[in-house]
């Protein structure tokens, strides 16, 4: 096992596109590092450079103390799990798992012992004599894992290993891979575009955008203190609501004007983000997490200046909670980052965003308590937990925190 270090790593393809630029990152020994980002952000390329399947255009990758730039894949001692599993179709499950050990010319008994151990760990024992095509998707995924763990490599590299599974199985395998990684303690780099996987699995998560590393942090920190708009918008499901707001001074404190409505920020918000003062009278991007919105009828002491009004478009009852989509008369934040995030969800989402901008209407998603009685079509009041608001600079997209950290202009 070993640390994997990226120093100033970049990758430019022969056609001139830059997939990764100046990546600086250290994955500690035994750490579960998740690379996350929308498609085309360079996360898979970064992983493939570690495996040796892509040449490194600039910088250095080290596995342990060894610089591996010029080391061929077979000598890097890393195990890769592919999105398509890439099982050897002509070999049985047993031989698939044993493949790397046989190449190393290990003793038969030793190979047998290791393969059976791996098969037991993964519940593959009944299938050892089968060919991959006689397995279900979940079983194939396990074989791919088995092929990796049997080698006891320096690091596991996983390229969206769960994205070909159905939702239920994905949740189960997510937990299994996490457990396996903790048990084995092998350094793991896990690439995904699914931020839920990133949040639930990673010791630390590296968010990438257009080949550039945005932020590396433990999941909770990423969630609570996104360094920029992109990270804030990408992490969290449902996503953070992003609106355009103007900071105004009222009654001695700051408040955020959203269209005709005002949210008073209160002392705590200002104390946590002293830099906000400098944005007085300016536009900022206001980020609202769905869980910080609640049906005002259920909150006994929500003051009038910490409420928003909106028309309910849609409610989704999940049993434990109620997802409420409501239209608020305030412009959505439309910056490069937001457009990119929308485009990643779908072209229609991006188009809707432009439309909403024109209409000065934003659809805000709130995670209400299941006791809420709001109905579609009603206009309702929503209590906002203003202590948990996020603010970003409109131009740079950087989060507005204190003077040293975050946006400085």
């Amino acid at each position: 096992m070993a640390a994997v270090t990226f120093s100033d790593v970049s990758k430019t393809f022969p056609d001139g596109t830059t997939a990764v630029s100046d990546l600086d990152l250290e994955t500690e020994d035994g750490e579960f590092m998740v690379f996350v980002g929308p498609s085309g952000c360079g996360k898979t390329t970064a992983l493939r450079m570690v495996a040796g399947l892509e040449e490194i255009s600039g910088g250095e990758i080290r596995i342990g103390d060894r610089v591996v730039n010029e080391v061929s894949p077979k000598d890097r001692d890393v195990a890769m799990v592919f999105q398509t599993y890439a099982l050897y179709p002509h070999l049985t499950v047993y031989d698939n798992i044993a493949f790397s050990l046989k190449l190393r010319k290990e003793k038969k008994e030793h190979i047998d012992k290791r393969v059976r151990e791996a098969a037991r760990t993964l519940g593959l024992e009944p299938f050892l004599d089968r060919k991959p095509r006689a397995l279900s998707g979940g079983q194939r995924q396990r074989v791919a894992m088995g092929r990796a763990i049997v080698r006891e490599p320096q690091a596991f590299l996983m390229d969206e290993p769960l994205s070909n599974l159905d939702a239920k199985l994905r949740v189960q395998m997510r937990a299994e891979i996490s457990r396996l990684q903790r048990t084995l303690g092998v350094t793991t780099i896990y690439v995904t575009h699914d931020q839920v996987e990133a949040m639930t699995m990673g010791d630390r998560v590296a968010v990438m955008r257009k080949g550039e590393l945005q932020q590396v942090a433990p999941p909770q920190e990423l969630y609570d203190h996104p360094l920029n708009l992109f990270v804030g918008g990408f992490i969290g499901s449902p996503a953070m609501n992003l609106l355009e707001a103007t900071l105004e001074r009222s009654n001695g404190g700051l408040s955020a004007a959203l269209g005709d409505q005002r949210l008073s920020l209160g002392e705590e918000a200002l104390a946590a983000r002293p830099a906000l003062k400098r944005y007085e009278g300016q536009k900022v991007v206001l980020g609202l997490r769905p869980e910080h919105l609640e049906d005002a009828a259920l909150v006994t002491d929500a003051p009038a200046d910490k409420r928003l009004q909106g028309e309910i478009e849609l409610t989704e009852a999940l049993g434990s909670e109620l997802m409420v989509h409501l239209k608020v008369a305030a412009p959505p934040a439309v910056t490069e980052e937001v457009k990119e995030l929308a485009a990643d969800i779908g072209a229609d989402v991006a188009a809707e965003l432009e439309e909403a901008k024109g209409e000065q209407q934003t659809t805000v998603v709130g995670r209400f308590s299941a006791e809420s009685n709001v109905k579609e079509g009603e206009t309702t009041e929503v209590a906002v937990d203003t202590r948990a608001l996020h603010f970003f600079d409109v131009e740079s997209g950087l989060g507005i925190y204190d003077e040293t950290k975050g946006a400085t202009r």
Partner: protein, 316 residues
């Protein structure tokens, strides 16, 4: 088993076999397939039946039936015809043995070269140009190939480029020890492109990720070929082999053009003796016997080929 009656599929009475196409469709079905049946019968079934009949017959010079001779033709072919099968020498000689030599040497060399080029070409930048060049001979008719190589093997170094290169004046096609290999080489040149194209396509069909997985699993290029690519090519390899073997059992044209079976019958093959007996010696019944022998050699390969295609899909 449950005793409950299980309802059968709608529209088909339970417990009865699927009615034959004729019963189900009636005379209309027959009408629709009759043009195809007619053509097949006229062009394939009738000639085949006629050939089999003739193989038990003696014919006049105009190939008209004269009298039945039972298995005489077959007996003569395998026991008394030195040109076809000479078992007095060791190893045996004759057109049959020579043809078997073709089957082995020609198939192995064509496929070996085709596979080698397919694998190596995938690693160079100008793959498509390279493959096109090697495929070009496939577009040349066998007769033209024969004429080209007749020039190449010409004993006069001023004409024969092989002798010119080697600075010799050997009669490659005139010596019994070189003639067959010279012919085989010419035919390999003409058909390696076929093996290469099929195998190259099959090779491309192997997902890149499988190769990458093997590479990260510690396989070097040789191990990738031997343990991954080669086994995954087993079906296309078998198909190409059968195809080439069938072709070479029917081999006729380049022998006819380049050597006419000579020198002294040393380069004769089965199809050539069939032609020679039928049209040269006017022994249609005997020629038909040789044709039947060819058919018997080819049929198992065809059956195997078809059943293999039915039973197994290409895994990748």
């Amino acid at each position: 088993m449950s005793s409950q009656p299980v309802p059968g599929p709608v529209g088909r009475p339970r417990g009865r076999a699927l009615p034959s196409i004729f019963k189900k469709q009636g005379w209309q079905g027959l009408l629709f397939i009759s043009p195809a049946l007619l053509l097949l019968g006229l062009l394939v079934v009738y000639p085949m039946v006629r050939t089999i009949m003739l193989s038990f017959a003696d014919t006049r010079a105009n190939l008209k039936f004269r009298r039945w001779v039972g298995f005489d033709n077959f007996e003569r072919l395998f026991t008394r015809d030195r040109g076809f099968f000479d078992h007095d020498t060791f190893p045996p000689e004759g057109a049959l043995v020579n043809n078997l030599r073709w089957v082995v040497v020609y198939s192995v060399v064509s496929i070996g070269l085709g596979l080698l080029i397919a694998v190596l070409a995938a690693r160079v930048r100008y793959e498509s140009i390279l493959k096109a060049i090697i495929f070009i001979p496939m577009a040349i008719s066998a007769t033209a190939v024969a004429i080209i190589w007749k020039f190449v093997y010409d004993p006069d170094p001023k004409i024969g480029s092989l002798n010119a290169v080697l600075n010799t004046d050997l009669s490659w096609l005139g010596r019994t020890d070189t003639v067959n290999y010279a012919l085989i080489f010419a035919y390999v040149w003409a058909s390696t492109g076929f093996a290469m194209v099929v195998l190259s396509a099959a090779l491309k069909g192997i997902p890149e990720e499988i190769i990458e997985a093997a590479r990260t699993d510690g396989a070097n290029e040789w191990a990738i070929f031997r343990r991954i690519q080669f086994p995954l090519l087993s079906l296309p390899l078998a198909v190409v082999t059968v195809w080439l073997v069938i072709n070479v059992i029917k081999l006729f044209d380049i022998i006819f053009v380049m050597t006419g079976g000579g020198p002294g019958g040393a380069s004769e093959v089965i199809a050539f003796t069939m032609y020679d007996e039928t049209f040269g010696n006017g022994e249609g019944g005997y020629g038909a016997t040789i044709a039947v022998v060819m058919l018997i050699m080819i049929i198992p390969l065809m059956i195997w080929n078809i059943s293999r295609f039915r039973s197994e899909r290409v895994v990748t």
